[in-house]
């Protein structure tokens, strides 16, 4: 098996970083939205 180390500044590396950011955003944004919604539902519990 022949393998090539990809230099840190290679376009593939930058592409992967972009892909990482996008992938985490796609799952992170709905989760953050859910957290905000749920915390706002929890508030009445501590209001009384």
């Amino acid at each position: 098996m022949t393998r090539t180390e990809i230099p840190a500044d290679a376009p593939e590396q930058r592409g992967q970083t972009m892909r990482l950011v996008l992938s985490w955003l796609i799952v992170g944004i709905p989760l953050a939205y859910a957290l905000v919604q749920t915390i706002s539902s929890v508030m009445p519990l501590f209001a009384g």
């Binding site: 590396q13 992967q16 799952v27 989760l31 919604q37 749920t38 929890v42 508030m43 519990l45």
Partner: protein
Amino acid sequence: MSFLDRQHTIAPPGYSRWLIPPAALAIHLCIGQAYATSVYKNALVAHFDTSLTAIGIIFSIAIVMLGVSAALLGTWVERVGPRKAMFTSACFWASGFLIGALGIATSQLWLVYLGYGVIGGIGLGIGYISPVSTLIKWFPDRPGLATGMAIMGFGGGALVASPVSRQLMSLYDPAYDPADSTSVASGSAVAMLFLTLGIVYFLVMMIGVFNVRTPAPDWRPAGWDPASIKSKPLVTTAHVSARNAIRTPQFWLLWIVLFCNVTAGIGILEQASPMIQDFFRTGEASLVTATTAAGFVALLSLFNMAGRFVWSSTSDFIGRKPIYMVYLGVGVVLYTLLALAGASSTLLFVALAAVILSFYGGGFATIPAYLRDLFGTFQVGAIHGRLLTAWSAAGIAGPLIINGFLDAQGEPGQLVAADYRPALLTMVGVLAVGFVANLLVRPVAARFHEPAPAATAEPPAVAHAGAAARSAATTIDDEEEGR
């Protein structure tokens, strides 16, 4: 469709393993919707002019199919690899919604049973186990963290789906007010919701399908020494097949552990809203309003989700057996306190229930890593699938225990804290049984291990598929070199 084949999912050198958790989350966030069915339950009751039980059956069928498909298709998932499994799960899950939408639009309840229940339930089972084995292979140094992230997504899926579904139904039916708990959406709005969710979930799950990769057989995380595993007594470097695993006492002890942990958690989840009101009832009225009770349910959902990530990650440091001793042993103490002193203070009641629910979530998320420790990575996904039958069984036992005791104590709306005591103390007994089962877990006997190939230390499945995998990896590497 060779893109979906296992040999085409081998990661090229330099592929970041941190792309795998969001791929797994993309699946689990979507299938976690299964726990948000209460949002449109009343709308379906009104639309089909039927009972709550008849609509509740849709969810029950889906959960039973989850357990059955995870148990029966686990070995297939291991064989075809995560990408084909995730794709299949997305097809079943989305088709379930589309057929369900057709059933609602044409007022055919049996189509909803078949669509969301049976077909969607198969998607649930395949989707739940599809990323587990891959995550464990990418994170041999932190398997608890990896599976905790994915299974946290299942808890989070319901938290996402509930508010989104309410908003979508109000969009499709302007007469429906999501802020008013008595407002009910029209059947056509629920049908449109199913159609939308089916399409959106399919697209999101495809992101997981495209991103998921399996590590090359010789891949290791930077700076990680596989020899570090050998220093831990309950962590094996051997491999046990799914067929052999179910012949070991360890599998059945973990089945009991999961069953007991889930049964106890469901005991609170099932009754959360009426329970907090009943605990603080004085005469006919309760000190806790319906809105506050809804806040309590939301808080439990948060702790359930957070527990999946926090406790499962913690298990990487303190070990799997000790963390289950915490879930079950401390659970016994907390459940006893809840039964005997929970009514003394709202804050104490809420705190005890929240920690118990975090243990419930933690129990779900840590079990794949426990299985990996005892049985190796060879067919851990398939073994996990078989173990999930404990979840299905607990889904029946938990509500039966709690409702059985409460029915014997009196009418709903008239119950007080003391009426919950027999049910809660029974759960203490259930947790104690799980604690003893966990205490009895020992390393799996060598006679159940797969024979190690003479020339290589790779697990059998990897060795068997090694030539194809290496060939595929070479092709990818050569293509990269050619660019």
